[in-house]
């Protein structure tokens, strides 16, 4: 069974977007930013089940989606992405396919979440953004376990609830309802919280 159509679009879209912003997309960045996009989707009222594929942790505690990995591999094999070790760039056929998929009715608002996630690299620099995602509460509890575990399950979503509530309060207070501002703020918070905890040790 191949990757889901959502994973194929996300892989192509993220590779295209990160390549536009930073010159090439590392596979790990595609996984981490797609994970952030999924969290933004849930924050905005979406359900995990309707995202289209699932995330688990790698042995180093990073978010990973098997469907995304398969999609990247398949897109490289079919000439839609150019691959150099673990760095992907869209080819012209890949850009053409992306345009066709983007116009498809099934996608709805999906690109909005992917773009909000990728665009955090404009405000923070992509390494800072992806590094901050690693401090997401369920990833932090999984750090050091050295075994794979599912992400955004019931326990993971419960850990996110107070974060979402806080972000909505700030968004109302500051009149900043857009996803980009919310994503950047949350990542800054995650890093600040991690920095505080590391000095408390």
């Amino acid at each position: 069974m191949g990757p889901t159509s959502e994973a194929v679009f996300d892989a192509l879209h993220m590779a295209k977007r990160v390549d536009e912003l930073d010159g090439g997309a590392k596979e790990s960045e595609v996984h981490v930013l797609a994970y952030l996009a999924c969290i933004l989707f849930i924050f905005d009222g979406g359900s995990v089940a309707s995202w289209g594929y699932v995330f688990s942790t790698t042995s180093t505690g990073a978010p990973y989606a098997g469907d995304l990995h398969d999609a990247l591999s398949n897109l490289a094999a079919s000439g839609h992405l150019q691959r150099d070790v673990d760095v992907y760039r869209p080819t012209q056929p890949g850009l053409d396919t992306h345009e066709r998929l983007r116009a498809g009715w099934r996608l709805g608002e999906r690109p909005r979440y992917l773009d909000a996630a990728a665009n955090t690299g404009l405000a923070l620099a992509t390494p800072v953004a992806t590094g901050a995602v690693m401090h997401e509460p369920q990833l932090r509890t999984a750090a050091g376990l050295a075994r794979k575990r599912m992400l955004l399950d019931e326990a993971g979503l419960a850990l996110l609830d107070p974060h979402f509530e806080g972000l909505r309060r700030i968004s109302d207070e500051n009149n900043t309802p857009d996803l980009f501002s919310t994503a950047v703020l949350w990542l800054r918070y995650l890093q600040a919280d991690a920095d505080q905890k590391s000095t408390d040790v």
């Binding site: 930073d22 960045e29 009149n175 309802p177 857009d178």
Partner: protein
């Protein structure tokens, strides 16, 4: 546990929040403007824009700027930008995909009434009708939007030397000297060097999963490695051992600790031994060891003597460290050692 107080504190200092709350319905214009800024600085270094720069978020700009007398150029590509005369430049990206450029200093009140504006005058600002948001300066870089990122650790270390170490551009390294001319290092400079490199890698190295810094309390010779970088998808690990050579003052300011080549060689052996002992714990990972040596050697420097000629201060600028054995020739998991020469302040640039 989530802290709303911390979130509020972060939001208060978040320039994105400040700009977006002031745009009153123009929230969607910020990401494209940020991307425009980045694109401009991809083609011309901010330090070259001596006359300053103004970028407009949209083509909704006042007609006054369309005055043909002030139009400098119509660019098909930003790659043509570096060839323009170094005066104040105003750019807007048109829907057609090209760019219009003017060389007049605009009326900011008129501009901001129409669109979100970015201004560079040596530092970064965003301008709204009743508010100018100034961004923090990043030492070593002309603009917060011109900080490069790197796919590999080797590339990142090259840039780190140039931007952070060479002239002590990093504040942590700048504060690590016992004198203003950067002749003798402060007492126990290792901690600042570790933190400087760790902070830099977090901002500049793409695709890492974890960057771990050795805890301060591990000070014996059997300590774990100084910085460990783990990549999540490719199963690669970099173990970075940091050493410094040169002179460091003692707490009483009466004498210096002097390290030269033997110290660097000791670090190389330490790293080689650690690579051997670490193999059983990471059998499924590709591990490479990096020895990074901060070189602050000065000829004739001591606790009492900081008055060196330029020749003495720079004597070791091009003097490589003599390693024996050369582990990088003996084992494939040992990268060529990296020497970061920390320049003194001299009359010679």
């Amino acid at each position: 546990m989530f802290s709303f107080e911390l979130l509020q504190e972060v939001a208060e200092h978040d320039w994105i929040q400040t700009i977006q709350s002031g745009t009153h319905g123009g929230e969607e214009s910020l990401p494209p403007l940020l991307e425009f800024v980045r694109s401009v600085f991809d083609h011309v270094a901010p330090e070259r824009l001596t006359g300053g720069l103004t970028l407009l978020a949209s083509s909704n700009f006042p007609d006054a700027l369309g005055d043909a007398d002030h139009t400098l150029a119509q660019l098909a590509e930003l790659a043509d930008l570096p060839f323009l005369h170094p005066q104040h430049l105003v750019l807007v990206a048109r829907e057609q995909g090209d760019y219009l450029v003017w060389n007049t200093q605009p009326d900011d009140a008129v501009l901001t009434a129409h669109t979100l504006v970015y201004r560079f005058d040596g530092s970064d600002h965003f301008m709204l009708p009743d508010l100018t948001v100034s961004l923090p300066e990043i030492p070593g870089f002309g603009s917060i939007f011109s900080i490069p990122t790197f796919m590999t650790l080797d590339e990142a270390l090259l840039d780190y030397e140039r931007t952070h170490v060479r002239h002590s551009g990093c504040p942590l390294l700048a504060a690590n000297w016992d004198d203003d001319d950067r002749i003798v290092l402060a007492n126990k400079p290792e901690s600042s060097m570790r933190r400087s490199l760790e902070q830099y890698l977090r901002a500049a190295l793409r695709g890492y999963g974890l960057i771990e810094l050795r805890p301060e309390q591990n000070v014996d010779e059997s300590h774990p490695i100084d910085i460990k970088v783990t990549w999540s998808v490719t199963n690669r690990i970099a173990l970075i051992e940091i050493k410094w050579i040169g002179q460091s003052i003692n707490p009483e300011k009466t004498a210096t600790t002097n390290w030269k080549d033997p110290r660097a060689n000791s670090g190389a052996k330490q790293l080689s031994d650690y690579l051997d002992s670490n193999k059983e714990y990471t059998p499924s990972h590709h591990v490479v060891g990096y020895l990074v040596v901060f070189d602050a050697r000065r000829a004739g420097a001591s606790a009492e003597n900081r008055e060196l000629s330029d020749e003495e201060a720079l004597q070791y600028l091009a003097v490589e460290i003599n390693y024996e054995p050369k582990y990088e020739e003996l084992r494939p998991d040992f990268a060529p050692p990296v020497r970061l020469f920390m320049r003194p302040k001299t009359q010679v640039a």
